[in-house]
C-alpha cells in the first residue's frame, strides 16, 4: 500500500494523493488533488481560514503545532486534531502511512 493524504468531506472521500511529500504542506497536498480547503491568504497563516481536522495519522507523522496555529486555534480545537493546512507538514514518508483529514 502506498502512502496517501486522504481528504474527506461529509463522509465522502473527495481526494487522495498518490504519495506523501514531506516538504509540501497539507494545503499543497489538497491542491494537488484539486480539493479546496478554504485557504484565503495564500498559505501565510495570516487568516486561519484553511482549518482542517486530522482524524487519522501516526505519531510524529506531522510537524508540531506552529506558533501561528496556537494563535488561530483554541484549546478545544487543538485537542480535537484541528490544524491549519498551510502550517502542517508531513515529517516523513512511509510505505503504509495514511493521513486522513476531514474538511468543512
Amino acid at each position: 500500500m502506498s502512502s496517501s493524504v486522504v481528504f474527506i468531506r461529509g463522509g465522502e472521500v473527495v481526494g487522495a494523493t498518490d504519495s506523501i511529500y514531506p516538504k509540501l504542506n497539507l494545503l499543497g497536498h489538497a491542491q494537488l488533488v484539486e480539493v479546496s480547503v478554504g485557504s484565503q491568504c495564500g498559505g501565510h497563516g495570516v487568516c486561519g481560514a484553511d482549518r482542517i481536522r486530522v482524524v487519522a495519522s501516526k505519531v510524529g507523522a506531522l510537524s508540531p503545532l506552529s506558533d501561528v496555529e496556537f494563535k488561530h486555534l483554541d484549546e478545544n480545537e487543538i485537542k480535537n486534531g484541528y490544524r491549519l493546512a498551510c502550517q502542517c507538514f508531513p515529517e516523513f514518508e512511509a510505505p503504509d502511512l495514511v493521513i486522513q483529514v476531514t474538511l468543512r
Binding site: G15, K23, L27, G28, Q31
Partner: protein, 608 residues
C-alpha cells in the same frame, strides 16, 4: 495458440466484412499534437486515488496501426485505412528536438502515415542547428531549413492548402497585394486577391488523393490562420495563412468530380471557450452539406468528439497519449458516406496492456495483450531500435543532474501555481533582478518528485526562448500587464511572476459569455516581496513612473501571448536561451525549489 486465434479472428473478420461489403469501409486513424512524445511512459489517471497506466509510445502505436491495417488487408476491396496527423509532431522533448524532428518523422514514416499537417510548432526550429531557432539579424539563410530537411526524408507529404508566399499574392489588377500573415488579410480592404496565381511553399502540398477500398479519398490539409503568432514569427515572415473555410471551398471546386470522399486534417481545434473546428464544419456544411465527410483537428490539446449534420470532427488530446479513429461507410447507391453508420472513437488512450473505455467495438485485451480489429498489437521493433539509438546519442547530456524535486510541481494557466513560482524564482535568482515574468504557455509540463535531470527539465521549457533583460520598466506598464493577466479565465495564459505580491479580484462565474475572461476583474494592489507598495487602487500618492528591473523571455518582450504592453519597454540585453542559462545555474547550485505556494498572486474575492 495465439497465432491460430489470430488467423481465426482474421478469417472471421473476412466473413463479416464480406457481409457488409455493400458499403466499403474507410477507417481514418488520426493523431495530433504528439509534441515529440515518442517513448512509452506511465501516466496517472483519477484523483481518488490516482491509478498508474502504461502508455505505449510510437512503437506501440505503429503496432496498433499495423493491426488495423492487417485486418483491412484481409479484404482490400471493402476496407481501407488512412493514417493522418493534425500537426505539432515534434516540438517538446529533448529526444525529439535534438534531431530537430528527424527522429519523429522517421517513426511516423515507420508507422506509415499517409499525410500530416505541419501545425505552428513545426516552424519553431528555423534554420538547421538544434539550439539555433532563428537566423541572426541581417544574415542570409533559410529560416525553414530544419523543417524542409526532415520533410525531405519523410515518406509522407506535408499538407497545408492555406499556406502561401505573401509575395506571390496579386490583386485583380495584377499589382502586388500586400497582406498580413493572419488570414492573408489584405492591408488595403479594397484588394481582392487572385488566388489562382498565388504560390504555396514547395515543401507543402494542398491535398492528396488516395485510393482506398476502391474509393478516391481526398485528404486536404489546413493550418491555423494565426500560425505566425504562435511560432517564431521571423521563420514565417514571408508566409501567410489564408482563412481555412475560404481555402477549403476553393480546393473543393478544384476537386469537383474527382473524389468520392473528403477528409480534412487541420491544425485547428475546439477548446474551453473557442470552437474553431466546429465553426469550420458549420460554415462549410452550410455551403454544401456534402462538402466534407470527416475532420481530424488539433492545436488545442483537448479531446473533442463533435458531429455536425452527422459529420464527425475529432481531436485526441496531446503528447502521444491518445489517438482517434473514424470509420466511414460508403453507400454506392447514394454515391456518398452513409452517415448513420459512421463510428467514432475520439481521444482513446493508447494503453499498452488494455483497451480504453469505449474502444470495445474495435479493441479487446487478454492478460495484457491488446488486439485491434482482431489482430494482436506488436510494438514495432524498428521504431524501438531507432529510439534506442537516438537515446544513446543524447544520454550524456540528458542525465546531467540539476537538482531535486521534493513534491509535484504543477502548472495552472489562470492562477498562482507552484511550478510557475519555482521557475520565476529561479530566473530572478539567476539574473539578480527585481522581477521575473514568464508566460504560462511556455511552461509545458509538470515536474514529478525525484532527482531532476537535464532531460526532465528540458520538457518543462522545450522552446528555445531567449531570456532578455528589459530596460527599466515603469510601474505603470507593470500595472497594465497584471490588470490584463489577472483577468484570465482561460482565454489566454496568465503571467507567472517572482518578486512581487499581486492582489486582485476575479470571478470567472461573471464570464457569462464564456470568453475566458472575467470582464469585471480588478487589480487591487501590487507590492514588492518586502511589502513596499507599488500600486494600490485606493491610493493616488504612489509614483507609477518609478521603474523596476525585469527579466523575461524574448517571446513576451515582443508582445507575444497577447501581452502587447511588453513593447512599451525595450530589450536591454539578450541573456541566451533561458533554459540553458537556468541549467547552467543549476549545475553550479542544484535546484531544490519549495513546492509550497506563498500567495504571490492572490485572488481576494470570496464568493459566498
Amino acid at each position: 495458440m495465439i497465432f491460430l486465434m489470430t488467423v481465426l479472428a482474421g478469417l472471421l473478420g473476412v466473413e463479416s466484412a464480406e457481409a457488409i461489403c455493400a458499403q466499403p469501409r474507410i477507417t481514418i486513424i488520426g493523431t495530433n499534437d504528439i509534441h515529440g512524445a515518442v517513448e512509452d511512459k506511465v501516466i496517472t489517471l483519477g484523483k481518488t486515488p490516482p491509478i498508474p497506466k502504461n502508455i505505449g509510445g510510437m512503437p506501440f502505436f505503429s503496432g496498433v496501426v499495423s493491426s488495423i491495417r492487417q485486418s483491412a488487408a484481409m479484404n482490400p476491396q471493402c476496407e481501407g485505412v488512412i493514417l493522418v496527423d493534425g500537426g505539432d509532431q515534434f516540438q517538446g522533448t529533448l529526444l525529439s528536438n535534438f534531431s530537430e524532428g528527424a527522429l519523429m518523422f522517421d517513426l511516423m514514416s515507420e508507422a506509415g502515415y499517409d499525410a500530416v499537417v505541419p501545425g505552428n510548432h513545426d516552424y519553431d526550429f528555423g534554420p538547421s542547428g538544434w539550439l539555433v531557432d532563428q537566423l541572426p539579424a541581417g544574415s542570409r539563410g533559410d529560416p525553414r531549413e530544419a523543417l524542409k530537411s526532415i520533410a525531405r526524408r519523410a515518406s509522407f507529404p506535408l499538407l497545408s492548402a492555406n499556406t502561401y508566399y505573401m509575395g506571390s499574392l496579386k490583386s485583380i489588377s495584377g499589382a502586388p497585394a500586400p497582406v498580413i500573415s493572419e488570414y492573408c488579410r489584405p492591408t488595403s480592404s479594397s484588394d481582392i486577391i487572385r488566388w489562382s496565381e498565388a504560390r504555396r511553399p514547395e515543401f507543402l502540398r494542398p491535398y492528396i488523393i488516395k485510393n482506398v477500398a476502391g474509393l478516391r479519398v481526398a485528404i486536404i490539409g489546413l493550418d491555423h490562420p494565426e500560425t505566425a503568432a504562435v511560432t517564431t514569427r521571423a521563420n514565417v515572415s514571408d508566409l501567410c495563412f489564408r482563412d481555412p473555410v475560404e481555402e477549403f471551398i476553393s480546393i473543393k471546386a478544384e476537386l469537383r468530380g474527382r473524389v468520392d470522399v473528403t477528409v480534412v486534417v487541420m491544425h485547428l481545434g475546439d477548446a474551453g471557450n473557442e470552437f474553431k473546428m466546429t465553426e469550420f464544419l458549420n460554415r462549410v456544411l452550410a455551403q454544401d452539406p456534402r462538402a466534407v465527410d470527416a475532420v481530424i483537428g488539433g492545436h488545442t490539446h483537448y479531446v473533442n468528439d463533435v458531429r455536425v449534420q452527422g459529420v464527425p470532427a475529432i481531436q485526441s488530446g496531446a503528447n502521444g497519449e491518445k489517438f482517434g479513429r473514424i470509420d466511414l461507410f460508403f453507400d454506392p447507391a447514394a454515391g456518398a458516406i452513409d452517415r448513420t453508420r459512421t463510428r467514432v472513437f475520439a481521444g482513446k488512450f493508447l494503453f499498452a496492456d488494455e483497451c480504453d473505455r469505449g474502444n470495445e467495438p474495435v479493441c479487446s485485451s487478454n492478460a495484457g495483450l491488446v488486439q485491434y480489429d482482431g489482430f494482436p498489437v506488436a510494438a514495432s521493433p524498428v521504431s524501438r531500435a531507432k529510439i534506442e539509438i537516438a537515446r544513446r546519442e543524447i544520454a550524456p547530456m540528458a542525465k546531467q543532474l540539476l537538482g531535486q524535486i521534493s513534491a509535484p510541481l504543477t502548472r495552472n494557466r489562470t492562477e498562482e501555481n507552484n511550478l510557475g513560482n519555482a521557475l520565476t524564482d529561479a530566473v530572478r535568482d539567476t539574473f539578480r533582478v527585481d522581477v521575473a515574468l514568464l508566460n504560462s504557455g511556455g511552461i509545458r509540463t509538470d515536474l514529478m518528485p525525484g532527482p531532476l535531470d537535464y532531460e526532465n527539465f528540458y520538457r518543462v521549457l522545450p522552446f528555445n526562448n531567449r531570456g532578455v533583460r528589459l530596460k527599466p520598466m515603469r510601474v505603470a506598464t507593470l500595472v497594465k500587464l497584471f490588470s490584463k493577466s489577472i483577468a484570465s479565465c482561460g482565454n489566454f495564459g496568465a503571467l507567472n511572476q517572482s518578486g512581487l505580491r499581486v492582489f486582485y479580484e476575479k470571478d470567472c462565474a461573471r464570464d457569462v459569455q464564456k470568453l475566458g475572461v472575467d470582464p469585471a476583474a480588478r487589480l487591487l494592489r501590487v507590492e514588492t516581496i518586502t511589502g513596499e507598495p507599488l500600486f494600490d487602487v485606493a491610493r493616488t500618492d504612489l509614483n507609477l513612473e518609478r521603474t523596476i528591473s525585469v527579466v523575461t523571455v524574448d517571446f513576451l518582450a515582443a508582445g507575444g501571448s497577447e501581452f502587447p504592453e511588453f513593447r512599451e519597454t525595450q530589450v536591454d540585453a539578450d541573456l541566451g536561451i533561458l533554459r540553458e542559462a537556468l541549467a547552467q545555474h543549476f549545475r553550479r547550485q542544484p535546484w531544490n525549489p519549495s513546492p509550497n505556494m506563498d500567495g504571490r498572486l492572490q485572488n481576494v474575492l470570496r464568493r459566498p
